[in-house]
Symmetry: C2
Subunit: 179 residues, 2 copies
């Protein structure tokens, strides 16, 4: 939680009756007690296995790998993706002391070698750490399945003129044949 | 020129000595007189054929199609592209009374059928008008050459969480195999 969200919370509770603040405090404790991580994909879940992993209508043949649950939620909002997920719990970042062993990579490799999905999509942002993580995972799981990564380029509706140079160069490099 | 730029210009000249403002006014008139459009690619140019079209080191086998000269300048700043350009002079927009015949499309078709480039890259933003224009040009020039379009997706360094849903959906849809 950043300073802005913290301030918003503080100002909110000061305006509210004490009983309501006590309810909120209780709800936070309950949430902390009840929400854990899904044992399959490591998404936040109140059950041992999360709703997405339990949903029989989700496509088992695709696993989308994301850095954290926030990214999973963002992808779910698009309503475009019908496969399963795998939440890494972060990205490789030596400067913050996060190596591959701090992430859920062993579980991912086990899952991929056992379930044999047709495709693993790496949906990790293109920062230096994200890039390192993407390449590292690629090496790990390429022996087992097809590995793809999400597209980088111009945002939809965005003007060329306002795109930063790196993004524009990437959009040019990543061009594809018109259908 | 939008209201902000106009205001900036107005405040600037009020602070300056009269002689300098007269010089600026004269320079504007000169610029207007001297700058026309390149007869090959329709980029702004003080010569009948622009510097890029005249440059023997630019690759003749690729033409990048952009809506206007601003987009061309943005692409040049990336220093990634070594081919030629074609400036449309806008995008197809029936609501603004701009049809295909208001753009430099005839000249493009002539150029493509005559020069036979290996590839034409459509670098047009993905608005409704941009999309229409991209598909229209695709139909026009596909008989002559390979037609590609720039990539749309997550901006480089951008977080999944902050991408709008359409862009994220597009990034997922446009995924490609990891090298």
């Amino acid at each position: 939680m950043g300073p802005k969200t913290a301030q918003r919370l503080a100002l909110h509770i000061l305006k509210r009756p004490e009983s309501e603040v006590e309810d909120l405090a209780q709800a936070l404790i309950e949430a902390k007690k009840q929400i854990g991580l899904c044992s399959v994909c490591f998404h936040l879940s109140s059950e041992p296995v999360c709703e997405i992993c339990r949903n029989p209508n989700r496509d088992n043949s695709t696993i989308c790998v994301v850095a954290d649950s926030r990214d999973l939620i963002a992808l779910e909002k698009t309503r475009e993706y019908k496969g399963k997920y795998h939440v890494l719990g972060g990205v490789i970042s030596p400067i913050d002391g996060i190596g591959p062993e701090q992430l859920t990579l062993q579980a991912l490799v086990r899952r991929v070698s056992k379930d044999k999905p047709k495709e693993v999509i790496l949906a990790i942002s293109q920062s230096i750490e994200g890039e390192t993580t993407t390449l590292y995972i690629g090496q790990l799981i390429k022996p087992f399945t097809k590995v793809t990564r999400i597209a980088f380029g111009l945002p939809v509706g965005g003007d060329l003129e306002y795109a930063d140079e790196v993004t524009l160069a990437r959009a040019l490099e990543g061009r594809r044949e018109l259908d």
